[in-house]
Symmetry: C2
Subunit: 376 residues, 2 copies
Amino acid sequence: MRDVNIIGIGAEKCGVSDENLIDLMAKSSIDAVSAAGNVEIDAIFVGNMASEEFTGKRSISTYLADELGYRGKPAMRIENGPASGSASFMAAFFSVISGFYDSVLVTAGEKMTSVSTEECTEILAKMLHPVEKIHNFTLPTYGALLTRLYMNEGLTRDQLSMVSLKNHRNGAKNPIAHFQKKITIEEINNSPIVVDPLRLYDICPISDGSASVVISSNTQKDGILVAGIGQATDMHAVYQREDLTDLKALKMAFERAKKMAKISIKDIDLMELHDAFTILEICEIENLGLFKREEIAKAYEDGIFEIDGEIPVNTSGGLKARGHPVGGTGIYQIYEIVEQLRGKAGKRQVEDAKTGLCVNFGGFGDNVIVSILKRS
Amino acid sequence: MRDVNIIGIGAEKCGVSDENLIDLMAKSSIDAVSAAGNVEIDAIFVGNMASEEFTGKRSISTYLADELGYRGKPAMRIENGPASGSASFMAAFFSVISGFYDSVLVTAGEKMTSVSTEECTEILAKMLHPVEKIHNFTLPTYGALLTRLYMNEGLTRDQLSMVSLKNHRNGAKNPIAHFQKKITIEEINNSPIVVDPLRLYDICPISDGSASVVISSNTQKDGILVAGIGQATDMHAVYQREDLTDLKALKMAFERAKKMAKISIKDIDLMELHDAFTILEICEIENLGLFKREEIAKAYEDGIFEIDGEIPVNTSGGLKARGHPVGGTGIYQIYEIVEQLRGKAGKRQVEDAKTGLCVNFGGFGDNVIVSILKRS
């Protein structure tokens, strides 16, 4: 296996877009390819969860190739729920480490706002086990249950709100974030209840967006090394899990990525976590082994996860504030880490960031991909 | 890049099944893994076009991993229209040639009969360009147009019917074929018109099915080498193509696969082609450079493409008779070639077959994958 670098990135602003999926994807693709410089793209990998249902259009990898003027080039789409972005990155990564292709474009995005919130929730719920669907479980149902479990053990409303507070504060510094405004603890605590105890500001928005990276065996001066990548699954039926707070797939995926990157958790300078619900950020920090459950609230209070903290988390604003165009999120995470490792993150810049990590969930913790990127 | 072999295969009978998609997939998976013998599966790649729409279920790779007792193992799904099977095979192939994984399971299938024929046609039509969808174009529309182009140049109804005649004759010898009965030229010529000049027997059926392969860096005595694989795209909007009979993506994909396999067309002993419409088999034979357009009808009459002919085509019965569970078809094609190269094809056995080729279309010729397999 040879080294693979990210040599170009591009991303559209997350939010409610007037543009269709292919136009969004074409724009971020062109930005990434331009940034990569004079390199021949051998193939296109597209990450997308549900273009058929959100936009009535399948075969988007072929469509995108054609739109980009890349007619003839190989193109395929990878679907792995909300981890479609990371899965497309992983498939593309395999194709380059193997030597089969030298440089490939990975574009991941979603157009979600073309359907109603109810339809969107229905589409998302198709990732649950059929038995859960029968009982009308949705993703927010599980977000609420997980939050309740932590609250039963003492997590307070104010403590939970620190996640949203931080991520909105970061999003306010991110020009591609869906929400670029700070919010207060009061606003969070008084926002409408969606599924008790989940409030509106505990849940990521429904976003349109597309992000792209060019990965290559080329070494360029600002290339970012893909140091490690790992994937794992867990019990598909969430309700059957012995302990909802035990994110087994995350632990395994992280172990695999860490082993490949030959690093320990202490070497990680910043991370993008999958905070589709605020409680997930807390739960992931715990499962990555960063802090024990009882220490996490204090760590938030101490500013450990802030941009200028010991281990910044979701400097982009995370899914909560940057947005969560489901199939695109994995590449948005990688985009943020690349910006940080290159020292190009502007007001969000983490000082001397050398190694970053992304956690992308494809379902409620049952299919997780962890990537580790390094400044080469 | 290291050599990769197919070391285990499994396939469910194509047809109208009482079983759900996951059960079909689990069965073919278990057969392939059992056949592969004592090998550790590192990851699962799933090929599927539209489980969300046909069955209301997404996240089938995670679901399948769990069902198989492979909880924890990495799993992802690849969607590439009717070439989802081949695309999942290709992504899996990348992961093994690279050394990232050693042995992986590829399972591809579709459950189509859970919706009406009208709904099915609608779902399939989502692979066309949006402008074509507006004008109510469907895949059979293009099948009919292509047929008309050939008929305008002299192809007769009787000549076209030879494709279906042969493929049904072969399907009658294939225990996993959807249709295991011979039909006569008269039956074909008198079957109902679907889209003039396409008749019922010119169109593949709507099938349920799942097929699996285990690919590995292991060398086992009956391992079949993946000698070449190539993919290419073409203009997405079919109506804009200068010449509908010019299958550019097929030509490019074949060139790429051939170059990798270091063989010429003369080295190919048999092929599985993508005969979703009978005319496609004829058009593919022409575009592969096997015969000139004006020679093909005579070649059919001379029995060149029969099991005992010079270059057998669709010994499995093809999409027409074996069936076309869309996302699964690519792996069904590989399954047939592996059976043939191992000398296990029973009544369909091609004498001393050493090298076989598969052509899988992901759309109306705009995304094509060609695989070349060799007896090692």
